[in-house]
Structures are given as C-alpha cells and as structure tokens.
C-alpha cells in the first residue's frame, strides 16, 4: 500500500494505535462434527504452476479472547468459515456470539488471538478487507433524519463501490423501493431490518454477516429473508448468520457453531450436529423379546424403551443391520424409522454441556 520507507514509518504508529496483532494463534477447543476437522473441499483448486492449493478460509479466527473488566465475553474461540458456505452462529444471550461478530468486523479489539479475513490479517488490513464484508449487527442503525435511500448513499460515500445503480438494486432486492424516500426514523422495525440487509448487500460483498436478520420482520418478511440467504450463497457469497431462531438456521445453514459461555461448544455440518443423537425407532409386536435380544447386541448399552417403542443407536445401527439382526431371531418389526434430533434439541443439549 505504502512504499517501504513510509511503511517503516507507519509500523510503529500502527502499533501505537493498536492496529497490529497482539498475540499468536490458539488451538481449537470445541467439539467438531466434521470428519477430521478438514476444510470444505469447495475451495480447492489448481494454482498456475499446477500445484494443489486451497482458497484461504473467508474467516479464520484463532484463540480469540475478549474481556470486559472481569467478565470474560469470549474465551478462546476458534472459527473457520469456508468460502461459499452458509455458516450459522447459535448461542444463548451472553454466550459471546455478538462479541465474536464485533471482533470479526474490527469493532472490538481482541485481548488475544488473531483474525484473518480472506486469508489476510484483519488487524493490519482492515481498511482493505472490511469493504468486502457486508454486515448487520443487532438492530440496524442509520441516520434518523436521512431517507432510506440517502442512508445507503451515505454509506457508499465512505467506501464507494455500489454507486447509484447499486443503491437502487439493493433497495429493490429487499422490497423497500417504495419507502426509500421516507426518513429512517419513520420506518417500522421490519423496514429498518430490510434496510439493514440492503446495506449488508449494497456493495456486493464476498462475506455477509447477518446478526438476527429476521428480528422484527413479519412472517412474509421472514420468509423473504430466508429465501434471500440461499440466493446470496448461490451467487458465491459466504454468509455468517447469527440467530436464536434455530429452525431458521437449520433450514438455511450448511454449517453451524454453537456458542456457550464465551466458547464454541460444538461446530460442524448442520446435518452432523442434528445426527449426533440419531436413533432408530423400532416398533415391534414382540417388544419384550426384541428388547432382550437387543440388550445382548452391540447396541445394548444405548438401547432405550419409551412409549411402546425401542430406540437403537450407536455404530452400525442403521435400519438394514438392525432388521437383519431381528429377523435372524424370528422377530419381525412393524416399523423401522430413523429419528434425528432437531437442531433445537441439539442446541439445548450442547449449551447445557458447555455450561457445565
């Protein structure tokens, strides 16, 4: 950016101003729900010289720690968001997810740890990296006396990218074009939320961070946002979605991190997290005999009986194996049905584990 001489002069100034890294990376400290914790394959490609190389994760945070006085807001968070993914961030109030989002946007400085966006350190290159990020943090806030349109124009003046056409396109995309001339202070909560999303997508960002984007929206608006997110992802953008609406996250996110007490207590593919308590429901007329037989099987330890059904879990507990096991013993099931935890059940279970 600057010639070496100027860079040399700037380095101590940047250090003084707190723009430089303060500590080294930490280690992952949470349950991972993906095989070997490997990055997604979507970013793998060949370099010019033919060597296999992988796109840097869009977000890579290591060992993030943030205190407010004696309160630990974030206690060693490691977070990797791969390019093109829709990444859900879940957690109860005070679990550290909003502080983590603020750390990712450079609004809050970490006490320890490092953040890289698009493979480059945020602390050194924030002014170049953050214009590639669109965000809505908590309730969208804009200048109250300016219209919705002028607020977007204003934001585009700071880091020009979208232009007048981009402003209009963003307004259209959130169906706010008819109210764009009205002052922001006259907007309903839902309209403010829409303007927030318009701001987030204004400059065609590669990474979009949405913190509770459906907060205050009516069912129609919620549905539109839920539909918008996969569209944005399909355009190649990476989405980080913070929400306490677990159903919403389950529907749109391919990966999830669950926060609890300032840490990530679980992280992985949404399907894997939901499947962590996958069971096979067995309904069979000879339930006592079946239970007796299954108790002697490798699945015996985790077997449970509830509401006139048996629930089998553990390695190899897929329907075909269990069915064969029962048939070989002359037992014929009426129903063999896989049962998954909902994300909500997983969430409560994991955050309770994290708290203890």
């Amino acid at each position: 950016m600057f010639p070496p001489l100027v860079t040399g002069m700037l380095t101590p100034i940047e250090s003084l101003l707190g723009l430089r890294d303060r500590s080294a990376a930490g280690r992952p400290s949470h349950q991972s729900f993906r095989e070997g914790n490997m990055p997604a394959a979507s970013g793998v490609g060949l370099s010019n010289n033919g060597a296999l190389e992988r796109d840097a994760p869009v977000v890579e945070a290591r060992g993030l720690v943030k205190h407010y006085g004696t309160t630990v807001a974030v206690a060693g968070v490691d977070l990797v968001v791969e390019k093109g993914s829709v990444f859900g961030v879940l957690g109860p109030n005070g679990s550290g997810k909003s502080t983590t989002v603020r750390l990712l946007l450079g609004l809050v400085r970490p006490d320890r740890g490092t953040i890289q966006l698009f493979g480059e350190p945020l602390s050194k290159r924030g002014a170049d990296l953050l214009p590639r990020v669109g965000s809505v943090v908590e309730t969208p806030s804009f200048v109250p006396y300016l219209s919705g349109r002028d607020n977007l124009r204003l934001m585009d003046r700071y880091t020009p990218r979208a232009g007048e056409a981009g402003v209009e396109q963003a307004l259209r995309r959130v169906h706010l074009e008819d109210a764009a001339h009205r002052r922001f202070k006259t907007y309903s909560l839902g309209m403010k939320q829409r303007l927030g999303i318009a701001f987030a997508i204004l400059r065609g960002p590669e990474l979009i961070i949405l913190d509770e984007p459906t907060n205050g929206l009516d069912p129609q608006g919620t549905r539109e946002v839920r539909e918008l997110i996969p569209q944005l992802a399909a355009e190649g953008r990476t989405i980080v979605l913070c929400s306490h609406l677990l159903h919403e996250v389950e529907q749109v996110c391919d990966r999830v991190a669950i926060f609890g007490a300032g840490r990530i207590v679980a992280e992985g593919r949404t399907a894997d997290i939901i499947a962590r308590r996958a069971e096979l429901e067995v309904r069979i007329p000879e339930i006592d005999a079946a239970e007796l037989a299954l108790r002697e099987s490798p699945w015996g330890q985790s077997l449970r009986r509830e509401d006139g059904a048996l629930y089998v879990s553990g390695p190899g507990s897929e329907g075909r194996s269990v069915n064969r096991f029962l048939v070989e013993r002359g037992l014929f099931a009426d129903v063999l049905r896989p049962v998954h935890q909902s994300l909500e059940e997983a969430f409560f279970e994991l955050t309770a584990e994290g708290a203890t």
Binding site: M1, L17, L107, V108, A127, S135, P144, M155, Y158, T159
Partner: protein, 296 residues
C-alpha cells in the same frame, strides 16, 4: 506520490465527503446558524432599545450612552461584533460538534460505519475538519449579521462607518481568524467529550460548562497570590481575551460585559497556550477513539 498514499488520501476525502453529505442534509446545521443570527440580532435590538430610551439621568449616564452608540456603530463592528460572536458562536459550534460526534453513538451509526472498513482516524478527522469548517462559517455568518445590524444603526443615528478598503478588509479577515482560533479549542473539547462519553448531551453540557465555569474560577483566582494566581494564565479564557484584544478595543464601559477579561497576557504565550490545549484535546480524542471498542 505513491498509489498507497493516493489511496489513503482518497479514503480521507471520501470520509470528509460523507460528513458533508450528512451535514448539509441535517436540519440542525441550519437551525444553529439561524439561532446564531437571531441571538446576534436580538442583542443588537436590545442595545438599540436602550439607546432609544436616551442617556437617563444617573451619573456618567451620558458618557455610557455615547460609548454604547459608538460600540454598535459600523466603525466598531469588528471588535464589537466579533466579541458577541465569541460568546454566541462558541455555544452554537460546541452544540454542532458535540452532537455531530455524540449522535453517532446515540444513534448507533458508528458501528455500521466502522464495520465497513472506514479507518477510525479518518472518521474522527472528517468530524474535526467539518466542525472547524462550521466554526469558520458560523463566525463569518454571524459577523455578516452583526455587520448588517450595525450598518442599520449607523445609518439610523448618522454614526461613523469608518473607512472601506483593502486594509480594513484585511483587518476584518484577521479578526475573524482570531475569533475562530479562540472558539476552536472548545469545539475540540466538545468532540473529545463526545468520544469519551459517547453521548451528544454529555459532550455539549461538559464543553459549555467548561466554557462558562472557567471564567468564574478564573475570576476567583485573579485576586489570589503566589503560584495559585498563575493558574488562570494556563487556562483558555484569559489567553483568549488576549487574542481577542488584537481585534481592537471599545472605549468606555457602556458596551456591556462581553469585552471584559484582563487580556493582558503576552500574545505569544496566549497563542501557545491555546494551541497546546487544542492539540491536547485533539490527541486525547484521537487516542480514545482509536483504542475504544465500538459497543453501543
């Protein structure tokens, strides 16, 4: 110039342009200028009402009455009008700067702005530039209002307009610049308070409290002896008086309290003290904002 430096300058220019975009669309900007014009006009109106009543019968009444007439004549518009401005424009500019910075926290707009990669010092720099720019506009505007009012009285009572020429114009420009110079530290204090307390109300309240209360404490200390008596020398008001005295003085006591103050400090020291305070406020504001977490 390297492309990196060009990029930085462009970002800085963008930040200033964004502030201009906000300020020109902000109703408060025009309300404050209107309030300034009204205050100056009302003050001249009150003086005119007093002059219209005649000198009265008390002792030295005639001298005071004549002094007042002289003070509001166009001949004396530079020292007198700008002395008025020093009071009113300070209030208006402190409100402008404090709300401009403090509202960013009150409205929670500072987060989205910083979150899109605007450098913090660019943001504060643009606020500072616009605040100082507004101070210049306010002082010039108020001076023009004072000029219009005093020209009317001068014509009404057949008073002296003084000479018109480049020399007087140059003197007026220098006087306006001095007035801006003595107001700017309070503007910067207002920005500092807004940055520290993240609130427009607290910022304006504190800066105005310092402006008005300092004079009271300075007055109390003026009769002290020993090192305590030198404390006011290091404060703003006395040094501001010294700078303002360069604009010219009004003869007689009838001109009111606005030209009070010793103003007897050496000019070079007055410049230095004011500059030191201004620089201190600025450094503290930038240091605070640069390190602060953006948490509403």
């Amino acid at each position: 110039m390297s492309s990196g430096l060009n990029t930085e300058l462009e970002r800085l220019r963008n930040a200033v342009a964004a502030e201009v975009f906000k300020v020109v669309r902000r109703r408060m900007t025009y309300i404050l200028l209107l309030a300034l014009a009204l205050l100056v006009s009302i003050f001249y109106l009150l003086l005119w009402l007093r002059i219209r009543e005649g000198p009265g019968r008390r002792r030295n009444a005639l001298e005071d009455w004549l002094a007042l007439k002289t003070a509001i004549s166009f001949f004396n518009v530079t020292p007198y009008g700008l002395a008025l401005e020093r009071l009113f424009a300070t209030v208006v500019c402190v409100v402008f700067a404090g709300t401009m910075m403090g509202n960013e926290f009150d409205w929670r707009t500072v987060g989205p702005t910083m979150g899109q990669g605007v450098r913090r010092w660019h943001f504060l720099f643009s606020k500072t530039v616009i605040s100082v720019g507004f101070t210049v506009v306010a002082v010039v505007f108020g001076f023009l209002v004072a000029g219009a009012a005093s020209a009317w009285f001068t014509s009404l009572y057949g008073l002296s307009y003084g000479s018109f020429g480049p020399e007087r114009f140059g003197e007026a420009v220098a006087s306006v610049s001095r007035t801006v110079f003595v107001i700017v530290p309070f503007v910067l204090l207002s920005i500092l308070c807004a940055t520290v307390w993240r609130s427009a109300g607290l910022a304006v309240g504190t800066a105005l409290a310092v402006y008005f209360m300092e004079g009271i404490f300075t007055g109390l200390l003026s009769n002290a002896t020993g090192w305590v008596s030198h404390i006011p020398d290091a404060l703003l008001n006395i040094n501001n008086d010294s700078i303002m005295s360069l604009n010219g003085t009004i003869p007689g006591e009838g001109a009111g309290p606005l030209l009070s103050g010793s103003g007897g400090e050496p000019i070079w020291r007055a410049w230095l003290v004011i500059l030191a305070w201004a620089a201190g406020f600025l450094v503290l504001a930038f240091g605070t904002f640069q390190r602060r977490d953006i948490q509403e």
